[in-house]
Symmetry: C5
């Protein structure tokens, strides 16, 4: 029945994109004292999250999101889904949470796939190249890039009668991934990414989080990739969100407008 | 007019996935006494449900769901739809319900199909293998697996002009199901499932509920299956929800964050 | 330009599926007296509707719906759309309405089509068989079946480039309808149906309302039909809702949980 | 690059379908005096709109809509979009508006196309037939038909790889339009229509508003047309709404239920 | 793997379409003094935005939107996404914001593509024609046209198996763009446009903002373009919004109805 060979995958940290809208009317009208308490709570929550005070390893960051769908996005990377659930719940205990709605979210886990050079990493009989090992490890347990802007979108590979990614032979997929990666490399130093898988965890198959100081680089990268068959023929995109990364201490400035 | 032979099916318990979001603002601001009453009510409801105090047989469990679409999911298995309706209604009488919204749900009935080895089970003239009988019985009246994580998604089989599951000959479908099942078997002990049918009961044709201690096993299983033609060509997936199973007594800890 | 011959159709009563969610929080917290008044109002409304006190002919029934999309569904059959609009409006005058939201609805009219044996009924020059006349009359002005469960879904016939129902020759459609009907007949006594057309009245082309004492019969019927080309190739389904029929006098028991 | 010839079009009045849901709970509980003021305001608004007190020409009418998506629809025809915006805004100044939500709307402009006999009308060198001129003028500046029921739906012409209306040669489209019109003519006196274009104005390409004393005629017309290739192959339909036309003076009776 | 050549692109100002619905009930019932303060705040905000008091360059305008999805749209063009985020936030500090909901938005950046004559502009070895340079500069840093009406819609290029824009050779795409542009030129002086790219910034690939004194010109332009293969075969459109441009000083008149 023509079952195709899946690539090996390795998983690292679980990842939560926790989007919130702010109730600006309530914020504007709240007494200064309550706002101060809310900010103190919020900053403490974000600083503890970024310091990974709640787990052995991971990372967190905060994003001021443009547009009506969200105002804030907290991104958390942690060893378990329970850690993420605890972080999600902990925020609800802050006074700041009273001024927000939980408008969107995405649950995934960092992932590396055994296409191309990464193959040896997954072969128990092969000795993987130490550079490749470090590279894959950096994808599974990434430092959150220190860049001004963050773009997030979920995506799927198509399963149409004409464009069916999952019905392609392994080698063809590997070639696509390699060509796709080649474009990415030309943006090295300009755009960095965290790729996370989400089959069984959320509505799409992957989440992509891009970091760049210049958002036009993100647009250029995505536009260029769209002409590559791995995207033009085989990618289906969900919603796109863009925002500005900020340090916890800047939360007050953000909320002040 | 080329009508295809449907498989025989057997149905067991009706199944309700009852998703709730929590109004965390109201919870945070409620007096301690009211929260205690709500928790006592909630725990009593969940314990009675898990003890199946309301019916002759069945099972229930509670899940803490990640993401913005739901915070809690109560899963109930019972002999009749009326039993499920009563459970749904009974929850609304608890003080806890005042802190929740009924944000999502899925109605289905556990199902076994007469493809492959199960064929004899459905043949009145054949003597079904006792092992097969026990296996099918365990699918229709399942114990809820004791695993840390639960993933739920509804799905349909495609009826495209190219990929039309319902227009395939019986034997071809049986072969697909068998190949599909073979993948599942390689995850034996790691991922357990409850399959329920929902034609005429809810918006999709089936519900799938997966249980695993390691959610990466769920992701790996689904990803691997996506390369099998039964999924790559013939499956259409709805929303995916993931959460952590918890005992009723832990409700207070969950609500406390 | 290849215009295809439509079947003759006859229309009977207009049909409203009026879905309501209940605000259980408000209900739980309402004073007993207010709840009693609301129940008295609700029962009186439903009894008058079922007695067709407002029109010369028709029928009404009440359904307790499972899942989050609706809690109650009132189904009304009446000679005119104005009758239905009046019933919809009249409910809003009851005290019970204050505890409900109008969450969903479907507007249609009972319909019989001149495919197969029904052809003569529509032929002014033919003398229709008295049995057929009675059968068609019973489809246009149906008694609401006295069965425990009710399933409702809207549907369309496909107009794809490959599967275009409206581009099939009349005889081919008649054959499909006959094959489709043959499956239905094997469920005689177990599942009864009301078919209503809704082109120009609501978002889909037809509404289907199924009645059965055992909801598994509804699932089995729909599943079996899905393998018939009239469904597998030509049917597109909307949402599915299932519930339990109840007598007006039982409204209090339902609301009590 | 195979650009196809568009038909000439003429535009007349801009058209707003302004759908409102009524907050029946607020209405039921409002003091009689406030309801009277709201009704007086509402009737005055509707009478002024129908008298076209705000512009040189046009027309307005009111519809009691069935189902949960809307309770009222105000249809306005006016020389400019600014006129429509003013009417939309003016309603918000009435006391009645406090009892409504603006749940849906459609913005379009009456349109006539130069297919078939209408061709000469658009040809600067041809002398159009006076009857044709009157006919086109009546489509651009229509009297709102005095019929009991009104059905509204937006629609698009398909641009599929197989069924691409915009890639058909002009003559083929003209033939389709003529065949389509022939069906309409068989309903003359039973169903009247206002066709309005909305490219760039709202989400679909056209709005269709049908008027009939018997809603079954609307259903029959649409069903019959669905077998004509102009619909079966080339039409994509949006939502459908049906309601009963009423005179401003009857607003109180409608609100009373 | 058949990667196609993307065009060069240049980006100019970031662009925010910030749609708001007005809570007319709250507005109607607010004390005159509060309304005056809200208007004063709103006018000051809009005047400062149009004067680009917050950045070195850019532009802003206000639109009164028809229909239920939005009442107001503020369009901002600025050098950075942070500038836009600040403007979005600043509005929330006005008293006027308390009367609005943030119902919709679109984030993009003005874009010019190196198809056709613009090619030289992007060629580091070529000397671009000064007229072309000025033209491209005017697209990247546009004056907001002084026209009565504004239409906005997002769009994508299709990636179907039959109509796949991103799989066309460069020259074919260039020819399509040129043919598309030729239609636009016939509307010179009647319809002006701002084209902005949004890959990675929002849900679609481009935003199109059209300006015209006569909205029928917008409809005619879009309808005519729909017969051009660049649209008929390769364009997928999102929502369409239309409104009337107004000066900040007219805000009071608009809110008064």
């Amino acid at each position: 029945m023509d079952r195709r060979t899946p690539p090996d995958t390795a998983e690292g940290w679980y990842m939560l994109h926790d989007f919130r809208t702010v109730d600006w009317d309530a914020w504007r009208e709240a007494p200064a004292r309550r706002r101060e308490r809310a900010l103190a709570d919020g900053v403490a929550y974000l600083e503890a999250a970024e310091a990974v005070a709640d787990a052995d390893s991971g990372g967190s960051t905060s994003v001021a999101v443009l547009g009506h769908e969200a105002d804030l996005c907290f991104i958390h990377l942690r060893p378990t889904l329970s850690d993420l659930n605890a972080l999600e719940r902990r925020f609800e205990r802050t006074e700041l949470a009273a001024f927000t709605e939980h408008s969107d979210s995405y649950v995934s886990v960092t992932e590396a796939s055994g296409y191309g050079g990464a193959n040896d990493y997954f072969d128990p009989d092969a000795e993987a190249d130490p550079g490749m090992k470090r590279y894959i490890e950096s994808r599974l347990h990434p430092d959150i890039p220190d860049a001004d802007y963050v773009s997030f979108y979920p995506m799927d590979k198509r399963r149409d009668s004409e464009y069916n990614w999952y019905d392609l032979p392994f080698d063809e997929r590997a070639e696509h991934m390699s060509s796709h990666g080649d474009i990415g490399k030309t943006y090295a130093g300009k755009v960095r990414q965290i790729i996370s898988g989400s089959a069984g965890l959320d509505d799409h198959e992957w989440g992509v989080t891009l970091f760049a100081d210049d958002p036009a680089d993100i647009k250029d990268l995505l536009y260029e990739m769209r002409f590559d068959p791995s995207s033009s023929k085989f990618a289906e995109f969900g919603r796109f969100r863009i925002g500005r990364q900020f340090e916890p201490a800047k939360l007050g400035a953000y909320m002040a407008g």
